[in-house]
């Protein structure tokens, strides 16, 4: 988001953020839910459609900008962060949202994802992770689990998957959050990302109904969700299972562990209070394996630092101080000499 010059909040409704274009995702695709969550959230943020830009790469998720009534730029595969950087440096007043996927953002565009996070460009990065290449018909992706059967891996994939949140943290991200397409909590995650000044990285698990159906059901299914989802809230204990279980620090092994909480006495069980600025805990949370642990969701890490565009434009402004842009003087800079006219008069 932008708060360099606070933007007047604009009154809009969900309808104002819908375009007249027919949405072309497969029926039942998780992208629909994410689109609605975003369109529902933008009015609550007071966002101005004229000052909002959605920038995307290539893939199913990257069609997103066509369906949001704001400025939108559907660019080339993997490069959305670079376009966003140019847009934001040219006009820092724009609210820039990046839409990418696991193939676009972690494979072909991994380089740019790293650098936009490292530089801390002030923008929201939504990475739709469906663990598959959907638009090209189902090849395995860099986040596909080992053994994934796909047209290019008929015997199962052998390479280990990348973890987007761990990657983001390693690249220097100052805001990391997780959600999933049909989650009711997704708007609150988006709001937290918008409130963060700097690159806000959000991994959104998204169900690819055609090529990787129900891949996230084990934690996303409503039934038993309380045991399989850990919703992290700043300043609150890391509890799940309706408060019967929590996450504590195994001081000996320097890892996290699941502990039972008796009678709501989470302090006695040693459950950690979520400090969103604690980078060490963030490292453990992004690596926390689902299975032995619940899936960590919500805001995992949030500790702002100065943004890239503030640094660049601030330095530029400083270097311009007291200087006059005189093109004539610039052209005549350095050691010059004068050729007189034929009568010997100086030119």
């Amino acid at each position: 988001m932008n708060d360099m010059t606070p933007i007047a909040k604009v009154q809009t409704t969900l309808k104002d953020w819908e375009t007249d274009q027919e949405v072309r995702w497969c029926p039942g695709c998780g992208d629909y839910a994410i689109l609605k969550a975003v369109q529902r959230t933008l009015p609550e943020l007071g966002a101005d459609p004229s000052k909002t830009v959605f920038v995307s790469g290539i893939g199913c998720s990257s069609r997103f900008p066509y369906y949001v009534e704001s400025y939108g730029f559907h660019t080339i595969h993997g490069r959305a962060p670079a376009f966003a950087t140019g847009i934001k440096l040219a006009n820092p007043e724009l609210d820039v949202w990046l839409v990418t996927g696991d193939g676009d953002g972690m494979s072909i565009g991994g380089n740019h994802t790293m650098h936009v996070l490292r530089r801390n460009l002030n923008c929201q990065i939504m990475l739709f992770n469906n663990e598959i290449y959907g638009l090209t018909k189902g090849q395995y992706s860099p986040t596909s689990r080992q053994g994934t059967n796909s047209p290019t891996t008929p015997l199962g994939s052998v390479d280990r998957p990348a973890s987007p949140c761990a990657f983001a943290l390693g690249a220097g991200a100052r805001f990391i959050a997780r959600g999933f397409d049909v989650s009711k909590e997704l708007p609150s995650v988006l709001k937290a990302a918008y409130a963060h000044r700097g690159a806000a990285f959000i991994e959104i698990f998204q169900n690819c109904i055609v090529y990787n159906k129900d891949r996230f059901e084990e934690f996303a299914a409503p039934k038993g969700a309380e045991d399989r989802q850990l919703w992290l809230k700043a300043g609150e204990p890391m509890l799940f299972g309706k408060g019967t279980k929590g996450i504590a620090l195994d001081v000996e092994a320097l890892t996290l562990k699941v502990v039972d909480v008796a009678d709501g006495d989470w302090q006695a069980a040693g459950v950690i209070v979520h400090d969103v600025t604690n980078r060490s805990i963030a490292h453990m949370l992004v690596e926390m394996p689902f299975g032995p642990f619940p899936m960590a969701l919500g805001v995992l890490y949030d500790d702002p630092r100065p943004t890239f565009e503030d640094a660049v434009l601030g330095q530029d402004a400083k270097s311009r101080e007291g200087k006059v842009a005189d093109l004539g003087k610039l052209l005549a800079k350095g050691q010059t000499w004068t050729v007189d006219d034929h009568e010997g008069h100086p030119a």
Binding site: V53, Y71, A82, I87, V339
Partner: protein
Amino acid sequence: MATQLADPKVQSTNAPESVVVRFAGDSGDGMQLTGGQFTLSTALSGNDLATFPDFPAEIRAPQGTLFGVSAFQINFGSTEIDTAGDAPDVLVAMNPAALKTNVQALKPGGLIIADTGEFSKRNLEKAKYDVSPLEDGSLARWQLLAFDISALTLESVKPFGLGNKEALRCKNMWTLGLALWMFDRDRAPLIDWLKGKFAKNPVLADANIAALNAGHAYGETAELGGQIKKVHLDPVASPPGLYRTVTGADAVALGLVAGAQLADLPMFFGGYPITPASSILHSLVRLKEFGVTTFQAEDEIAAICASIGASYAGQLGVTSSSGPGIALKGEAMGLAVMTELPLVIVNSQRGGPSTGLPTKTEQSDLYQAVYGRNGDAPIPVVAARSPSDAFDCAIEACRIAVQYMTPVILLTDGYIANAAEPWKVPDPATFTPFPVSFLQEKNAGDTLLPYKRDEKGARPWIKAGTPGLMHRIGGIEKAVDTGHLDYSSENHQAQTDARKAKIDGIAKSIPAQEVTLGTAGGKLAVVGWGSTYGPIHQAVRRARAKGQDASHIHVRHIWPLPENLGELLKGYDRVLVPEMNTGQFKTVLRDQYLVDAKPLTKTSGQPFTIAEIEAAIEGALS
């Protein structure tokens, strides 16, 4: 060459019209710096000049080796100079390797100045000499002046208490001092420059000045056996005005700044380090007060993508690279074509393919510029012919980009980027502005049509952030007018045709092709583009002086070509196209006009000599 011969004066008697000097030494010897300073003193004395820096790709190649030799050639004179000269009159060789790699180029009877202090057994071995060439008579074709510059330098800087290594670093200044004496040059600007350069270390400044003075005094007083004489070249007769020297890289940077001002836009420059293009970014980072934002991206692709993003947000996006980097930018160029956003792409060409010859010059990216993208993706191409011409070409590239809403490629090359020449400083008041107007409200009643074209075929420029003009763009085919996604066959046909017509139409906005030297029609047209200007021009001049019917046509607008070029070429019996590639522009001309253009090609990493083209003219006319 920037200056034009106005009123040739009578030359001083017995003085040559021009002299070619080549400084050659180890890449750590400071030859480029010596050459650069000699260039400046030459310019200040009013001679016309052209230079050719030629250095290895390695920053500090192993000392004394043949591949570590760095050379700087300058051609200067009291007459119009267009090239760095075919063959040197004087070779300054700072070590055996420099002598070995350069002496064959020296004119018969030319002068070799060699530092005997560096002709040790070890250095001779490194240069693969069995015996010292200074002693075995193998240099008999030339005049040889060999003396111990190293020792003389050490002696001259003794009072400053420098270590041996540091003291020897002053050798280049000693040599420069001698050269200044030979050509009757003022030392004062050099002394001022040294004081500035070593402001933080006055001892080094004093030592270098002492070495410079000692070299000069050596020429003045030493018994040189009458081998070298002081030569004075009169100033060239140039139109009156203020002059400076400029390299192509500087001229591009200045031209882009001027172009952005004329378009009334801030400029966004996205770049990634690559030889020989980096110096444009180096120049622009220091010009922030001209509304320039620079961005060193993580790679070539990000550099162009960020620049397109900036154009989308209403700035003039510019990116720059050399061949390998331009290849990486290809896909993004296609997006700029499809989204019809202005963008300037500068390609400082070098030898290819692949990494090729990073520090050597070539013109082999013409196909890449004109044709090198997927799909039918026409992009206008402008090519600079000399360092100072790069200034005008950069402005022209900016103009086309904003007036036609298109990416534009500006071609220079390693030779133009690094070479320096005198430049008559232009007066900005004489430039024609081309201010941009952004679309501020819906352009079809209550409807916004982002792809509604004007009479030139250009769509409106809608700055992201403009109230009420929200719209979506991208790489998928755009519906006519609305810009919505549209894969239909009739729409793709219509938009492909429209994009082509728009770029073809640029030809209406460019000047008719002129004959650079000679006549419209005749026996032979020598058609060039880019940095071959100098040698072609001089070769045609010599041919015409011999009474041969040859004319020089030099093309700036490579794509689209000037509207009259086809007719013009058909007026000649023969067309010869010299270029530093295997015949790329020749192919374009044959394709466009069905003319029987014949190639004259060279891909040695070195510019054409005048003699090479002169011989080809001779051959074509016989």
